[in-house]
Symmetry: C2
Subunit: 195 residues, 2 copies
């Protein structure tokens, strides 16, 4: 049986509210543990993203493949993050993204309909959702700004200060793709910044 404590702790910490015993039972009833081996897909391009996953253990990448066959990583995800293509999840449209486990992955997953129930019935859950929504808005605003106006080197330094754990957990070519760079460029950039 999977570790619901991680989810409970997360909800309580982010929301600043406590979960009742009933709340916890409700969460355990509809969040389903799911395990993926490294390289397995949580979501495939073209499918509707029916589930949102809370990462208990492991890591994943969200990426597209362009016409030239090049992969572009949009998001790298670790423990205590939510995993989904929100566009597809909210609108029920086929996803343009793939989500792949980069390490063996344990998630707790739920459907949109069940999330709606949690929002209605669990105050801590709904408070958490509001905080997350704010955080996402802020983080995305920053990321758009960085992508548009920073140089490659500035974006890399930004990553180091905001997500230092990425350097330990993800191979450098994944980091490069996440930053919108070729692996060669990131390699050279690191060498030069030692000066």
């Amino acid at each position: 049986m999977s570790n619901f404590e991680a989810l409970f702790d997360y909800i309580q910490e982010i929301s600043g509210k406590l979960l009742s015993a009933d709340d916890k039972h409700l969460l355990m009833e509809y969040f389903k543990p799911k395990k993926l081996r490294k390289r397995q897909y949580f979501l495939q391009e073209g499918d509707v993203c029916k589930y949102i996953g809370f990462i208990v253990k492991g890591s994943a990448r969200t990426f597209t493949v362009d016409e030239k066959g090049h992969e572009h990583i949009l998001k790298l995800s670790l423990e205590n993050w939510w995993l989904a293509d929100f566009e597809s999840f909210y609108l029920l449209t086929p996803s343009r993204f793939n989500i792949e486990a980069l390490e063996d992955l344990e998630v707790l997953q739920s459907t949109n309909a069940q999330i709606e129930e949690y929002l209605k019935h669990i105050p801590a859950f709904s408070a958490m959702a509001n905080v997350i929504s704010q955080n996402y808005t802020i983080a995305n605003q920053k990321r758009v700004q960085a992508a548009m106006s920073y140089t490659a080197e500035e974006r890399y330094e930004d990553l180091i200060s905001n997500y230092p754990q990425f350097l330990q957990r993800f191979p450098q070519n994944m980091i490069a793709s996440y930053l919108g760079l070729s692996p060669e460029t990131l390699s050279r950039l690191k060498k030069n910044s030692f000066k």
Copy 2:
């Protein structure tokens, strides 16, 4: 007196719910009409963004100035859009952005504390907030992806299909900055796409 009907219509349309007479009175009580002349600032870098504005008429740009003195436009805004630096508005931190009227601007503005009240007491408002939050998440996800993996030309074509009204309302150098391009590059890019 400013046009609250635009705000009422917007809330009802986005939320799919009706506003009661009481709801409308509450909104009129705490949303304050504010007019800015072209080139005036709704927000200055370094100030806390105390107000969120709903644009009734006019347009604005949200931009930063980098160390070299170059401006980077993060957002272009038109009628029926919300105007704020959400990071500063939510966290009450000094903003890194400027928001400037590009045309004479009429907004209805409110503080974070009042927005919280609306979320509690007006169901249509809170439903609207959820939809907007979803839309923002989706739009930002797309924009990040575009910035990272599209060429300048693809980003321009993306803009044409998503926001065709921008071409009518904003000068080309603003569009270029919004796309993360120099004005010269956008000019050349347009010429070449006529082939």
